[in-house]
């Protein structure tokens, strides 16, 4: 009896393997800092929609932007049998191990919210260009983003600006910081009698309680700051920083700007909790997903000695009215429906890049008419 059961079990397992192999859907992995925080959950929402529209299996690994977990996530996804992955790494140095893993395991990879800097990380950049499995990167103009936020703060009369990052050495933070510094330099050149000062960053992690304690420490140490930039971190750091300012009775007195839209941004703008925010870029990973999907399908062949680079626009919201329009098309709904996602997957890479660059509230309004 036992032998008969064992034979049936083995046959059943063998059939499952054969069936699975014959009906294998593409499996794309997502390596993300968190799939449950404010920004991460929005990314997951649109990626799940794309996976459903394209009949693709998708799996997530949360790495918390911890270096060894970021590099480990590539190994985990390769071991799980992923045909491709998209990754939001922390430091660019991690991409060395990630690209090597993907090349060794023949798994396509694209970055989202990140790009390897050719000057700062020449080895990783070279590796990315040479690897047939590194497809490309989708990223935002972080330096311009940083500069624009400083412009907004300076126009609102802020002259002593504190800065709260999330993790030291994060590639995106370093670019935004460059942008903030550039913004301050530009303002000071144009207004030599009315200069602004940007303080050195302190790091508040990616959770709201650490975001609050760091913001409190910054404000306690600099009681004359009139603005705080919470550089990013997925949204929870900002929630903590706003809690700090509120509990210290400084709401509206310290102007706060950030990147990554909050779920209650409209209320924060109306109450003076936030002065402005850049964000709405949660669709960035969708385009990285499309790059990898088409690489798996054999539709995209990356240029020799290079990789695809897709620039994604930020949306800027500085009033409740701005937010209402954003909320209608990006919060209540997704900017792309299933039909549009299926059509997007059939685009050539240059057309995909144009599609990404064109995304805006007006673009969605036009498509929904």
């Amino acid at each position: 009896m036992k032998k008969l059961l064992s034979v049936i079990l083995v046959l059943g397992l063998a059939c499952t393997v054969v069936f699975a192999a014959g009906n294998k859907k593409p499996l794309i992995g997502v390596s993300i800092w968190s799939s449950t925080d404010t920004l991460g959950s929005q990314c997951k929402r649109i990626l799940d929609a794309a996976a459903q529209a394209l009949d693709v299996d998708i799996m997530y690994v949360d790495q918390g932007h911890v270096s060894e977990k970021v590099t480990g996530s590539a190994e985990t996804l390769a071991a799980a049998g992923c045909d491709g992955m998209i990754i939001c790494n922390s430091a660019s140095a991690e991409m060395n191990a990630v690209i090597n893993t993907c090349t060794k395991d023949k798994m396509y990879v694209a970055q989202f919210f990140r790009i390897i800097d050719k000057t700062a990380n020449p080895n990783e950049y070279q590796l990315a260009c040479q690897s047939p499995y590194y497809v490309g990167a989708v990223h935002e103009g972080e330096i311009d983003n940083g500069s624009n936020l400083i412009k907004i703060l300076a126009a609102k009369g802020c002259r002593k600006i504190a800065l709260e990052g999330w993790n030291s050495g994060d590639a995106t933070f370093l670019l935004r910081w460059k942008g903030y510094k550039q913004g301050v330099e530009t303002w000071n050149k144009a207004h030599p009698q009315d200069k602004a000062v940007l303080l050195d960053p302190q790091y508040g992690g990616t959770t709201s309680d650490t975001g609050r304690s760091t913001a409190e420490a910054i404000i306690n140490a600099n009681h004359d700051v009139d603005a705080l930039i919470v550089a990013g971190g997925g949204g929870d750091t900002l929630i903590g920083a706003l809690a700090a300012i509120d509990s210290m009775g400084l709401k509206g007195k310290i102007k706060v700007v950030s990147t990554d839209f909050l779920a209650d941004l409209d209320q924060q703008l109306a109450s003076g909790g936030m002065a402005a925010e850049s964000g709405g870029h949660y669709a960035d990973p969708l385009f990285a997903f499309m790059l990898v999907y088409n690489a798996i399908k054999g539709n995209y062949h990356k240029p020799a000695g290079s990789f695809y680079e897709v620039l994604f626009p930020y949306l800027y919201v500085a009033s409740s009215q701005d937010y209402d329009a954003y909320a209608k098309y990006f919060v209540t709904d997704l900017p792309y429906n299933a039909k549009e996602l299926s059509a997007m997957a059939k685009l050539s890479e240059p057309d995909l890049a144009k599609k990404a660059a064109a995304l805006s509230i007006q673009d969605v309004m036009q498509r929904r008419k």
């Binding site: 968190s34 302190q202 959770t207 420490a217 140490a221 903590g240 779920a263």
Partner: protein, 327 residues
């Protein structure tokens, strides 16, 4: 000669009394306050800022009190951070329907139940607590991620209702923490649990031979630890106005701040003032953090300095005799 002997005997007696322990703690606190105040008088250590530092430290002190019960018995629990995350998220989820009652009882009940579960698993599996609790940490993190998906409010894991944020500021956070500290003192001083936890920690075999049900009190230790962790979860989620579900052992980060306070408590156990040591220890750690920010030192160096200070204090106050076996 006789007078000198009396004075030195009195001094030796004073050195082992709890008043000496208090004195050392107060002197250490004043030392760190004075150090940063001298270096940065304009933005450190005013009365308003000291209150702010203390307010930040009390949540970790509550967790440190809980950890004391098992650390003093030679056990360890890596799942404290995961429990904070899970209990917070359960509290937030229940607060959507039941307001404050949901938040408070969600955090406390979830925390305590996890403690009971940990205790049962530890006693049934009969493997070191460190190993059991690493496994439990992974399980609890997964459960927390599932709990977040049950929150359909649009703000998963966030205390979006401004009417239930009382435990994030004075006086309610002080009240909750104060109750926890008084409870801790009561348990340690006036109950068998406190006495037996210390006895088991001193020599488990002797305690067993004396008739102490060691397994039972270890179980009680886990339950009490996680009850206090439930209180810490309430304070933490109110402080940050939300909680983030994490995976991949990231919750372990949350173990270490309360643990540092526990080390102070264990170091000052011999003076009979562990709770005071935990509270002031956490206060010193937060003061150091804020002092270094006031001096514009990056937060990355902050962790290095905090670790070094902790090692120095604990080794100066709790150094074993030369040749003794240190576990």
């Amino acid at each position: 000669m006789h007078r000198i002997n009396i004075v030195s005997e009195s001094f030796l007696k004073f050195k082992t009394s709890k008043y000496f322990g208090f004195l050392v703690l107060v002197v250490m606190t004043l030392f760190f306050w004075g150090f940063f105040r001298l270096l940065s008088p304009s933005n450190f250590g005013t009365s308003r800022l000291v209150i702010s530092y203390f307010q930040t430290s009390i949540q970790y002190a509550v967790g440190g009190c809980g950890l004391y019960f098992i650390v003093v018995m030679g056990l360890f629990d890596f799942s404290v951070g995961a429990n904070i995350v899970l209990s917070s998220l359960v509290g937030v989820l229940l607060s959507r329907q039941f307001g404050y009652w949901g938040l408070i009882f969600g955090c406390l009940l979830c925390g305590t139940l996890i403690g009971a579960f940990n205790g049962i698993l530890y006693s049934r599996l009969r493997i070191p607590s460190m190993i059991v609790t690493v496994g439990l940490m992974l399980i609890l993190e997964s459960v927390a991620n599932y709990v977040v998906t049950l929150d359909k409010s649009g703000f998963p894991g966030k205390l979006s209702n401004s009417n239930i944020l009382a435990f994030g500021h004075a006086p309610w956070n002080y009240l909750a923490a104060g109750i926890a500290f008084l409870l801790m003192v009561f348990l340690l001083r006036f109950t068998k649990t406190g006495t037996y936890c210390n006895a088991i920690g001193s020599d488990e075999l002797v305690a067993k031979n004396m008739g102490v049900n060691v397994e039972r009190y270890k179980f009680i230790g886990f339950v009490l630890l996680h009850f206090f962790v439930g209180i810490m979860a309430l304070l933490t989620v109110s402080y940050g106005r939300g909680m983030l579900a994490v995976t991949g052992m990231s919750s372990m980060d949350r173990n270490f701040k309360p643990l540092m306070g526990t080390f102070f408590g264990v170091a000052f156990k011999k003076y009979g003032c562990p709770v005071t040591a935990i509270v002031l220890g956490e206060f010193i750690i937060i003061m150091i953090f804020n002092g270094l920010v006031a001096l514009n030192v990056p937060t990355t160096i902050n962790d290095f300095v905090t670790g070094a200070v902790l090692l120095t204090i604990v080794s100066l106050t709790n150094r074993g005799l030369k040749g003794s076996v240190v576990k």
